[in-house]
């Protein structure tokens, strides 16, 4: 009976352990898989022609001839859209029309002077053209169809006037005729409405296709290109085709969301058919291609991580981690050696150990503030350095943060070296120092490396300690240890809180976090392989 119970409890225990491992793995999978998968999409995705243009301009990368060919075909497809918009805008935007009229009028005046038209004839043509100008201005800014028709009829009466023949004044009449023809399809009362709707439409179109090539180049790189990825293009296309509105359905209740086709806003105008045109010809305009953007790992980025990659961040994280390890390794081992080997006063050791344990539990931001106050503002200036955050101070702060972990792991490792090793070495006449360096340290190295592995994971992911001591959001790659640097951890923080752009580039956000996870993983694997090699050597293989 007892045997059976023991058997059952054993089985329950085993299954519980297996279950907990499964749960752990499942949780990890649930958290990590989407991050890694979405992060992966920062590197492998369907890139559009806008992406290739951006790569060529910013990083000088790609096949210029092929891109030019693609660009020509895509522009020819886009031209129809821009032309239609320009024409439509002409009719609804009275201001530009009036400007044009004024310009033509001025040119005509100069032309008359150039042609040396004399006295009365000059006066007559001048006043006539002024009259035409004023009439057209009232026409364009008027909302009444009757007024428009009358005015245009008046204006066109002068078209046959001999004085206007073969002069720039003919442009005035051409404009008036165009306007008269176009105005037939437009409900004039809706002019302001059209103008507002067109503004929204153009804004989204810019995000989809990039700026109209006839306009001047925008100042910021992020505004120069349309959707660089097909997924973003499709999101923008949806926004372009559908209009979200919030409408009150019943009083005292929250408003409800209503989605209508945007084309309805432009029903009956020439913009209307454009929506179908854009939807059907998106592929011709953007030329999507499968893209493997491995340079994501070496490229710098534009502000807000809008374009580009995480090159400086990876470099900065590696530098910081390695520099911190350079500080941690010797200090940690020496302290551990003192605790394990040298000290004889039990009371002092107890106090030191308590201090180390407390230090291990101190929040990381406290280390950050300590680093700012001690390393940045006191220690570095003491040696004549600039009182500015830099890699050196950040690495020292991180070292202070991770020192307790290192000391404890090393102490355990040193203690677990068999006493007989030490005795044999001392018995052969070696001194204490020699024994420690040549016998104990090599034997304890695998355990010490475990401490390093733990430290690396901690150091690479910490944000708070480096916030004030050496991390920057945006800047060039560091040239020496007295430069501040971008890092993956601070970059992930910055991308989330810094700019309103983050929501527009979720792939870059995920990409940075996924890179951080992968980097820590790789560093750990490297350290583990090193540890395995050393222990194999110790065993005499």
């Amino acid at each position: 009976m007892r045997f059976i119970i023991r058997n059952i409890t054993d089985k329950i225990f085993t299954s519980l352990t297996v279950l907990s491992v499964i749960v752990l793995v499942a949780i990890l999978a649930v958290i990590l898989t989407p991050i890694l998968w979405k992060g992966f999409s920062a590197v492998v995705f369907t890139g559009t022609i806008e992406f290739r243009k951006m790569q060529l301009d910013l990083f000088n990368r790609g096949d210029i001839d092929r891109l030019n060919n693609e660009n020509t075909s895509s522009q020819s497809c886009r031209k129809k859209i821009y032309d239609t918009i320009d024409r439509f805008k002409q009719n609804i935007d009275a201001e530009t029309l009036c400007d044009r009229i004024a310009r033509i009028y001025r040119n005509f005046g100069k032309e008359l002077q150039r042609k040396d038209v004399q006295g009365a004839e000059y006066q007559r043509l001048r006043s006539l053209s002024r009259e035409i100008r004023d009439k057209l201005e009232t026409t364009f800014s008027s909302g009444d169809k009757k007024v428009i028709d009358e005015n245009i009829k008046d204006v066109l009466k002068y078209k046959t006037d001999i004085g206007f023949k073969d002069t720039s004044a003919m442009e005035l009449f051409a404009l008036a005729e165009d306007f008269a023809a176009d105005i037939k399809n437009i409900d004039l009362a809706k002019r302001q409405e059209y103008a507002d709707a067109l503004k929204d439409f153009e804004n989204i179109l810019t995000k989809l296709l990039g700026d109209n090539p006839s306009l001047p180049v925008p100042a910021l790189k992020m505004d120069r290109y349309g959707a660089t990825r097909l997924d973003i293009a499709q999101k923008n296309l949806y926004k372009l085709l559908w209009l979200e509105k919030w409408q009150q359905t019943s009083p005292g209740k929250p408003m409800a969301k209503i989605i209508t086709p945007r084309a309805e806003l432009f029903a009956g105008t020439e913009i209307g058919p454009l929506f179908d045109y854009i939807r059907d010809n998106l592929d011709e305009m953007l030329i999507p291609k499968r893209t493997f953007y491995w340079q994501y790992l070496i490229d710098g980025s534009t502000p807000g991580h809008y374009f580009g990659g995480v090159g400086p961040e990876i470099l900065g994280t590696l530098l910081l981690t390695l520099a911190a390890m350079v500080f941690v390794f010797p200090i940690g081992i020496i302290s551990a050696a003192y605790l394990a080997e040298c000290s004889s006063d039990k009371f002092v050791i107890k106090i030191i150990r308590m201090a180390i344990n407390t230090l291990a539990g101190v929040p990381s931001i406290v280390f950050g503030l300590f680093g700012l106050a001690f390393f940045v503002l006191y220690l570095v200036p003491l040696f004549g350095g600039p009182s500015k955050p830099c890699i050196l101070t950040a690495a020292m702060t991180l070292a202070a943060l991770t020192l307790p972990v290192m000391i404890r792991a090393s102490e355990e490792a040193i203690r677990s070296v068999p006493q007989s090793y030490k005795e044999a070495s001392l018995g052969l006449g070696a001194g204490k120092l020699r024994t420690f360096i040549c016998v104990i340290l090599p034997a304890a190295l695998p355990g010490i490396l475990t401490g390093i592995i733990l430290s690396i994971s901690r150091v690479a992911g910490e944000t708070a300690p480096i916030l004030f001591t050496g991390a920057i959001a945006f800047g060039p790659t560091p040239k020496n240890a007295f430069d501040p640097t971008c890092t993956l951890s601070y970059g992930s923080y910055d991308i989330a809180v810094g700019d309103r752009l983050a929501s527009l580039v979720p792939h870059n956000q995920y990409g940075m976090v996924a890179t951080l996870i992968t980097l820590v993983f790789c560093l750990n694997i490297a350290a583990i392989i090193m540890r395995a090699k050393i222990s194999r050597k110790l065993k005499g293989h």
Partner: protein, 275 residues
């Protein structure tokens, strides 16, 4: 062989650490998360015009920007509010003369979830919401829905401006939720039906609904001419007026150029100058 490699790595590291080229021009900028995007974008423009100048931007809040300037840890401090008296005295005590450059205007916009039918609130009503006197949208002419008021953290310049315009030193209610950044506040309001919060004008978009305050809609015009009651300038602070012709001077007056103005507009703020 292995030892040689190790020595080589050591030597290389030493060379890298000591690679001090003193002639290099650097510019360190630190402070407000609100002004940060403008500084980032200016940096982008500068890196094209002056490729040999190194500009670094750290965004850790207006208060830290002021502290960094006082400690001379940075060349330019970004601040979304003016320096406080104690910051100013601390600076002057250390022999640092803070000079303010107002580079852009920002409006603090009240945002609610787009399903909210309320279109307008007065400063007094806002005061009531954030002190907890009004707890339901019903009392403000909206639907029967509890108000979820969200504020920025107390160390942010945006909070201090809001405090100045609306709270007037009165304490916020204990039920107010605090978030630590503009994007966070924006996404919180976007996803919560009864939410209300305040952000810089750059965060006003189609996903949230901006409210009229005292019957004025926040827009470029109303903010620039001061009719919108919660407009504020954004500052760069330097130690004394920067020596003419230095990078710091060029950076601080860049907002006056046409390109600088275009960048400020592209970043969603209101330029001081008008071309």
């Amino acid at each position: 062989m292995k030892k040689n490699l190790f020595t080589m790595v050591l030597v290389l590291t030493a060379v890298w650490v000591c690679n001090l080229s003193a002639a290099e021009k650097t510019l360190q900028i630190e402070g407000s998360t609100t002004v940060g995007p403008i500084a980032d974008a200016f940096t982008e423009a500068f890196s094209q015009a002056y490729p040999d100048v190194k500009i670094t931007v750290t965004k850790n809040g207006s208060g830290n920007g002021a502290a960094a300037l006082v400690d001379s840890r940075c060349d330019i401090a970004m601040m979304s509010r003016f320096m406080k008296l104690d910051e100013f005295t601390a600076a002057v005590d250390k022999g640092i003369m803070p000079v303010a450059h107002a580079i852009a205007m920002d409006g603090i916009c009240i945002i609610v979830h787009p399903s909210n039918p309320v279109t307008e609130l007065s400063l007094a009503q806002l005061h009531d919401i954030f002190t907890g006197a009004v707890k339901n949208w019903k009392e403000l002419g909206g639907p029967d829905m509890p108000i979820v008021a969200i504020s920025r953290d107390t160390s942010s310049g945006t909070y201090e401006s809001f405090d100045h315009f609306v709270m007037r030193k009165d304490k916020m209610d204990a039920s107010i939720e605090y978030v630590s950044s503009n994007p966070q506040l924006h996404s919180r309001v976007k996803t919560t039906a009864g939410a209300i919060g305040y952000v810089g004008v750059g965060f006003l978009d189609a996903e949230v609904k901006g409210l009229k305050v005292n019957n004025v809609m926040p827009s470029k015009q109303t903010i620039a001419n001061g009719t919108y009651p919660m407009s504020r300038p954004l500052f760069l602070f330097t130690n004394g007026y920067p020596v003419l012709g230095t990078m710091s001077h060029k950076f601080c007056v860049f907002y006056l150029s046409e390109k600088g103005q275009e960048i400020i507009e592209a970043k969603g703020f209101v330029p001081v100058t008008k071309y």
